[in-house]
């Protein structure tokens, strides 16, 4: 599937084996400075927030302190305090971790459900496909935001897990459709037909033969979904349907800016979170774009 580089040296060294996916990706990313910086940034920030938060005392950070309300950034509070006297820097670290966790969890879970659903639907086709797609259509027409808000209101305990599950329940359809359409093409190809003729089980063809051939599509879609999912959590929290303030997230920090006084006079509470959301989403997107190019020979730069 990959075109070999016409560079003379490459031809001499290795004319039969096509370069691996990882090396194509690596080459693609080094050619795009923006993507490279984004990747480094992502790795650093992820390592940082997950690392640091091991040493932070969450109880201490969300503890209301009446005597240090609305402190401006200082040596004691690097990013000042909010209206409950809580350290914004600590909340930012834990908030970023929570938001990232949700983004990753939702992406993984929607990915798994979507892939399996799409594979089964596309591979079997016919009536099975028809029925499964109608069920999917049903989920698609649900007013996503309303239903999520209703669910958020009725779950008894609200944690990163329940939140992720609720989101997953309404976000797996896109990837399922994508995989299905790809599998519909893929199963008509000779290798799949041959395998079938040789008596391979459906399971084996689906998961061991067709699936690896749609991997690049999956990786790209999931990376781009990740960016969207981080934003989704922030958006819901901003609207007031996200986490309680005792579970900081980027969205709750941002939602403090709904107060005109905070927006105007106390930038340190919401600007860092806003900038971080922006950078995270941009960085994930940049990496995703590089991946996309790596997966599609026509768009490749190198």
């Amino acid at each position: 599937m990959e075109t070999n580089n016409v560079n003379g040296q490459d031809q001499v060294q290795d004319t039969t084996k096509s370069p691996s996916g990882a090396s194509i990706f690596w080459r693609e990313i080094t050619r795009d400075k923006m993507a490279l910086i984004s990747l480094i940034f992502l790795v650093l920030i992820t390592a940082f927030v997950y690392g640091i938060s091991l040493f932070l005392n969450k109880e201490e950070i969300v503890r209301v302190d009446l005597f240090s309300i609305h402190q401006a950034p200082s040596e004691e509070f690097w990013l000042g305090t909010d209206y409950g006297g809580r350290d914004v820097f600590g909340q930012l670290i834990i908030g970023t971790r929570n938001s990232l966790s949700i983004g990753i969890l939702v992406t993984l879970m929607t990915g798994i459900i979507g892939i399996v659903y799409g594979l089964v639907s596309g591979y079997f086709g016919g009536q099975v496909d028809n029925m499964m797609m109608r069920i999917l259509d049903f989920f698609l027409i649900l007013p996503f935001l309303m239903v999520v808000i209703a669910f958020v209101a009725i779950v008894p305990t609200y944690s990163v897990w329940t939140f992720s599950l609720i989101m997953t329940a309404f976000l797996w359809m896109g990837i399922a459709r994508l995989i299905r359409s790809k599998v519909l093409q893929e199963k008509e190809l000779d290798y799949a037909q041959a395998s079938k003729t040789l008596g391979s089980s459906n399971f084996k063809i689906m998961f061991l033969q067709v699936l690896p051939n749609v991997t690049s599509l999956i990786v790209v879609t999931m990376t781009l979904n990740l960016a969207a999912n981080i934003g989704l959590e922030s958006g819901l929290s901003f609207l007031g349907f996200g986490f309680p303030e005792s579970t900081p997230s980027l969205g709750t920090l941002l939602s403090y800016a709904t107060n005109p006084q905070t927006l105007e006079y106390r930038w340190w509470i919401w600007v860092p979170a806003a900038v971080l959301i922006l950078l995270l989403m941009l960085a994930v997107r940049n990496v995703g774009e590089a991946l996309k190019r790596a997966a599609d020979a026509r768009q490749r730069r190198g």
Partner: protein, 629 residues
């Protein structure tokens, strides 16, 4: 590289979007309750109505020296505007109605339900009875009254020069008519209640058994006589309906259709200092002066009233878009105390916030509270210890900059006549709290740092608090921390704050108390009438704590008995009652509150005092509002 510049453009775009997103308000409007005017039962309030937030900009640059502790006090504010300069002839006043939603536009005292509509009404229609600073009706209004010896019959005389905006005189028949409409079986509004059933013959009329109300007699064109079943001092503090209704306008409209009629919605008339000129539904109302006003011709040419979003109040005041607003969000005060073009008026609000303990449930069949001695919070020592454990002074100073202050009794400082300052209520003393708990047998027996109940069982107290208002969340957390500090394990109900309506439903507004709630944090907007039966009586649905005792019943009954016409006796009764509440702690008050009203410097003769009734005297010193420097 083209790609990079695209990313940069995207970055800039998203930054703008984010800022715009942050600027769009999610403005917390928790004015969920209807203000039912003279209703003496009080109104449910968000714990944080007006979204008050303690906010002191430490990094602020221009703090005046005398306020360097960042604290304010209601004492710093006068209720009346100081006058500077010469008034001009005429002029138009711009009044801002602070609300995050459109007003309903039910513009008749007999039918309105929302507080915004009441603000609009007040400009063009008024009570026939004036009241003094103790909220008692006096003879300074458009009508005077005399009371019979047995205190049951009131004879009202409407002054001769009181006319409707269309020139027709306001008659005794008009006043009686508003009673007939409210008592009518087909009446669609919310006014009909105990104030009206206390009139002789009202229930028979309401049930359709009589064509007229036997207790209401039209003596002559301007004289009305009303006889009540039970004489109580509450009659004079709002239990008499003081609004007339122009019968010549409404008589051809069926009662069931009145609320939706043009006479209420489109071209309402009243007897107040200004006439309604135009109404833009939900947005604004313009008034012109009523030259025939009974107190004299107004000095202003007119008034323009418009709805202002709470998030843009400051800007609207600074630019002079409005001269004044009905209520200013006090959390925005510290950052704007220096606004140069307005004077802030202030006074004590008819309000207290409190923590309530569930002591029973509502018995719907008997229509009264069923106090249960075996509830989790039934031990008075536990309740008192929880009062000692919280530092309301610190809460008031740090969250509210002193614009709220620590409360001690259940009669707010808005009623100084009946409030007993000498009562000693618990104040912050965690050691005392621990001592009380130790002595009452609440000890940590399993070594987890949290106290168990005297039977040695784990004690987890479920705490219901409502969302809305900016400090709701940290405030609830603070209280839980304070209780944890004395060893009590208090958990937020469902782990989160409750939405306003859900909160009051679960606490028991409909009588179906959620047994999961052990304690709750609520607030009351109290009525003019000091009588607390509507909130703490045995038969009061709003008695959310479901507390009852013989002594409480007796004191509350004494407070509205005939002897209570003697003010000293009534003071003693309510003093005893306040003491009883401090001893029994069915609820404990946490904060009292101030109300603030900024007024443009060009406005004269304006006041927010309760006994102020001279809207015709308002004048301005310039054609245009003063703009902030």
């Amino acid at each position: 590289m083209k790609k990079i510049s695209f990313s940069k453009a995207l970055f800039a775009l998203m930054l703008i979007l984010l800022l715009a997103l942050a600027a769009c308000s999610g403005g917390s409007d928790d004015e969920g309750s209807d203000d039912s005017g003279s209703d003496d039962t009080g109104t449910e309030e968000g714990t944080d109505e007006g979204s008050d937030e303690g906010a002191e900009d430490e990094g602020g640059d221009e703090e005046p020296a005398e306020e360097d502790d960042g604290l304010y006090s209601v004492e710093d504010f006068a209720p009346s505007k100081t006058n500077e300069g010469e008034a001009i002839e005429g002029g138009t006043l711009n009044f801002g109605l602070v609300s995050s939603s459109a007003f309903e536009g039910t513009l008749n005292w007999n039918f309105y339900a929302g507080a915004p509509d009441a603000e609009i009404l007040a400009w063009f229609d008024e009570s026939l009875l004036g009241n003094d600073e103790k909220y008692r009706y006096n003879n300074d209004g458009a009508a005077t009254y005399e009371i019979s010896d047995d205190n049951r019959t009131y004879t009202f005389t409407i002054k001769d020069n009181v006319n409707w905006h269309d020139g027709e005189p306001v008659t005794a028949e008009d006043w009686a008519y508003s009673y007939e409409v409210i008592g009518h079986p087909e009446y669609t509004g919310v006014r009909y209640g105990s104030d009206f059933t206390n009139i002789e013959g009202m229930e028979a009329y309401h049930n359709g058994e009589a064509d007229s109300i036997s207790g209401i007699e039209i003596v002559d064109e301007k004289t009305l006589k009303i006889t009540f079943i039970k004489a109580t001092p509450s009659l004079l503090t709002g239990s008499i309906w003081p609004y007339a209704m122009p019968k010549h306008v409404f008589q051809d409209i069926p009662v069931a259709e009145m609320q939706e009629s043009a006479a209420v919605r489109e071209n309402p008339i009243g007897m107040g200092p200004f006439k309604v000129e135009t109404i833009t539904p939900g947005e604004s109302v313009t008034y012109v002066k009523n030259e025939d006003y009974w107190q004299g011709e107004p000095k202003l040419d007119g008034v323009t009233l418009k709805v202002i979003n709470p998030n843009t109040v400051v800007q609207a005041l600074e630019t002079g878009e409005v001269d004044m607003v009905d209520s200013f969000p006090t959390d925005q005060y510290p950052d704007n105390a220096e606004m140069s073009n307005v004077e802030f008026l202030g006074m004590t609000d008819l309000y207290y916030a409190y923590i309530g303990f569930k002591l029973g449930s509502w018995d719907a069949e008997a229509g009264e509270v069923a106090t249960d001695d075996s509830m989790k919070m039934s031990d008075v020592n536990l309740r008192r210890a929880m009062w000692y454990a919280v530092d309301n002074n610190a809460v008031a100073e740090n969250f509210y900059n002193g614009l709220r202050w620590a409360a001690d009794t259940l009669i707010a400082p808005s009623h100084p006549e009946f409030r007993d300052e000498s009562i000693e209520a618990p104040t912050y003393d965690p050691e005392e709290a621990k001592k009380i708990l130790d002595e009452a047998g609440y000890e940590d027996t399993d070594g987890d740092g949290m106290r168990e109940n005297p039977e040695g069982e784990e004690l987890v107290i479920n705490y219901a608090a409502m969302e809305g208002g900016d400090v709701a969340e940290p405030l609830a957390n603070y209280y839980m921390q304070a209780w944890e500090a004395v060893g009590l394990n208090v958990q937020l109900l469902d782990g989160r704050l409750q939405e306003f309506n859900a909160f009051y439903d679960r606490v028991g507004r409909t009588g179906e108390d959620d047994p999961a709630v052990d304690i709750y944090q609520g607030a009351w907007g109290v009525g003019f009438d000091v009588d607390p039966r509507g909130l703490y009586g045995r038969d009061a649905m709003f008695n959310f704590s479901r507390y009852s005792s013989e002594e409480n019943d007796q004191l509350l009954e004494d407070g509205v008995s005939e002897e209570a016409f003697d003010v000293e006796y009534r003071q003693q009764v309510y003093s005893d009652w306040q003491q009883l509440m401090v001893d029994e702690v069915p609820v404990f008050p946490t904060l009292y509150s101030a109300v603030l009203a900024p007024v443009n410097n060009r406005v004269q003769n304006y006041s927010i005092a309760v006994d102020w009734n001279a809207p015709h005297e308002i004048s301005v010193t310039a054609e245009e509002p003063v703009v902030a420097e």
